[in-house]
């Protein structure tokens, strides 16, 4: 029989997180700080709207782009929160989570051999999606000394004549890093100078703890070269509803919609109705969740400091990314031993790119009680490691 598998796919590494997941699955009593989704339930009024849409029998396809009502709310939301205006009729596409938007955005834009600059550590799907789209991933290692922001110098060095797209994953998973206006200005300037497009994954935009998030699309000259990706998963605790969106120039969104139309048809209708409610009446929920995350963030950072565990102060998402370099072991080793010895699951930094070596991702999408218990065990673990040396 012929090999049924395409080489492009067979050659793709499966996510490092997957491997770790398999180990953790064998320890059901482990405490996990390894989850990349909110611990809150979707606000009840949003769930209720989803249920109501089912009761009303709204169980049909929506248009390929998604409900006009939802696209209109998204545009209103982006204008009032991030000072960027889109036309709901032609510049917005509702997708199955931010993930789909990443995939089809890259597929719509890349010619074979064109380069995509991917700052790392970052979310696991940019690299494989680039390869699947026929592009060439150019990994760019972000540095702890820059608080894992992307600097204009780093960006400039990675640019070649084949560079077409820059992925801008901020607020960042796994580091919690953010990009402020002044950081983005340098990046925007280079994009315009070198005619580079930006795929800006802003799924954690609602969760920043310093200044409000700034979208690169709101900078002069950038809206026409940016695909802004956002969604409902993180801000409204709606991961399982699988709903995101992409906004951008009409010509790109039109082509993305074509791919979306053939492989997805439309995003889930129930989720779309619930999302309208989230955008209309969910601001207070988001504020409350953000405040709760911020309390945990402060608490974690304080505890790390007390333990003497080095960690830069992250101002976004719900992750901290402490360094474990002092223990002289790989991230993988550290996480596996921590799990086996103390039954606490955290994710090795290397799951998000090789430059994550020497770091671990700790999620604070957990109650303070949970965090306390887990931190107690982590402290025991690192004290034992220090005593051994």
């Amino acid at each position: 029989m012929r090999d049924p598998i395409a080489k492009k796919v067979a050659g793709m590494k499966s996510s490092g997180i997957r491997k770790f997941f398999d180990i953790v699955s064998e320890m059901p009593d482990a405490i996990s700080l390894g989850v990349g989704e909110p611990d809150f339930d979707t606000p009840w009024h949003v769930r209720d709207e989803g249920i109501y849409s089912l009761e009303r029998g709204r169980t049909f396809y929506t248009s390929n782009s998604g409900l006009m009502e939802l696209r209109t709310e998204i545009c209103r939301f982006l204008r009032s929160h991030y000072e960027v205006s889109y036309d709901p009729a032609s510049e917005v596409l509702i997708t199955v989570g931010g993930s789909e938007a990443i995939d089809i955005g890259l597929r719509a834009m890349l010619e074979e051999g064109e380069e995509v600059i991917i700052p790392e550590p970052s979310y696991v799907s940019y690299l494989p999606c680039t390869i699947m789209a026929g592009g060439v991933p150019v990994e760019l290692s972000l540095k702890e000394e820059n608080e894992f922001r992307l600097t204009a110098e780093e960006f400039r060095e990675a640019i070649t004549p084949r560079t077409k797209i820059l992925i801008l994953p901020f607020p960042n998973n796994p580091t919690g890093a953010i990009m402020e206006r002044k950081d983005l200005e340098g990046i925007a300037k280079l994009c315009i100078e070198h005619d580079i497009f930006v795929l800006s994954d802003e799924i954690y935009a609602a969760l920043t703890y310093k200044n409000d998030h700034v979208s690169i699309a709101s900078l002069p000259g950038m809206k026409e070269r940016t695909i802004l990706i956002n969604g409902f998963s993180k801000a409204y605790a709606m991961t399982g509803w699988r709903l995101g969106y992409a906004c951008g120039p009409k010509n790109i969104v039109e082509q993305m919609t074509k791919i979306h139309q053939y492989c997805i048809m439309c995003a889930p209708t129930t989720s779309q109705y619930a999302a309208v409610e989230a955008l209309r009446h969910g601001d207070r929920d988001v504020d409350e969740m953000r405040e709760a995350y911020n309390e945990r963030r402060r608490f974690l950072l304080h505890e790390f400091k007390r333990m003497g565990l080095q960690c830069f102060e992250p101002y976004g998402a719900f992750y901290v990314f402490p360094s474990i370099k002092e223990f002289g072991m790989t991230s993988d080793d550290f996480c596996t031993k921590l799990l086996k010895a103390k039954k606490v699951a955290v994710v090795p930094g290397t799951a998000f790119g090789e430059c994550g070596e020497g770091f671990v991702r700790i999620s604070y999408a957990y109650s303070i009680e949970n965090l306390k218990e887990a931190l107690g065990r982590i402290e025991e673990f690192i004290t034992e490691l220090r005593n051994k040396r």
Binding site: F20, F21, V24, G34, V35, V124, S125, N173, F299
Partner: protein, 168 residues
């Protein structure tokens, strides 16, 4: 600290202790990014001002052997000249059996929540004490059969974390 900061601090403290009166002040200071002494001072000020009226414990008595009956009583009264409802409300809330008293808009005037050891005890209170008050016109007593949620806390069932242990 200026007035606005103090206002904000007070609000964050109240939000935090509203559902957790036992929170450790040092830990609260870390969580809120505030100074523990400032928090302690603000709390004692708010106690003096009667903003913080007490620190209680939320108990689901149904899970104990202690027999208790809670009743909501709708009371219609005649307001008194010059005092409105205040003096009749006071006469009612002074009974230790009475848990809460609200002045209500709508079909009746006062909502009285009380607790007794048995149906009989509550009935006797309503018949002999409450209804007997001069300005009370009528009482409608509703016995509570089950408490699902109390002061923002769901008593019915515990919430389990059903997320997968590790996700990207």
């Amino acid at each position: 600290m200026n007035e606005k900061d103090i206002k904000e601090m007070r609000l964050s403290i109240l939000k935090a202790i509203e559902h957790d009166g036992r929170v450790d002040l040092n830990e609260l200071a870390i969580r809120l990014g505030l100074d523990a002494t400032d928090i302690a001072n603000a709390m004692s000020d708010m106690e003096k001002e009667g903003i913080i009226c007490g620190y209680q414990t939320l108990i689901d008595w149904d899970k104990t052997d202690d027999e208790r009956v809670t009743a909501l009583i709708e009371v219609r009264v005649t307001p008194q000249r010059g005092q409105g409802f205040d003096s009749i409300a006071e006469r009612i809330y002074k009974y230790p059996e009475v848990d809460s008293v609200y002045l209500i808009s709508g079909g009746f005037d006062l909502m009285v929540i009380m607790e007794g050891r048995s149906l009989k005890e509550v009935s006797q209170f309503v018949t002999n004490k409450l209804s007997a008050l001069e300005s009370v016109l009528s009482c409608a007593t509703h016995f509570i059969m089950r408490k699902y949620k109390l002061n923002g806390t769901v008593l019915a069932k515990k919430h389990e974390d059903e997320r997968m242990l590790v996700t990207p």
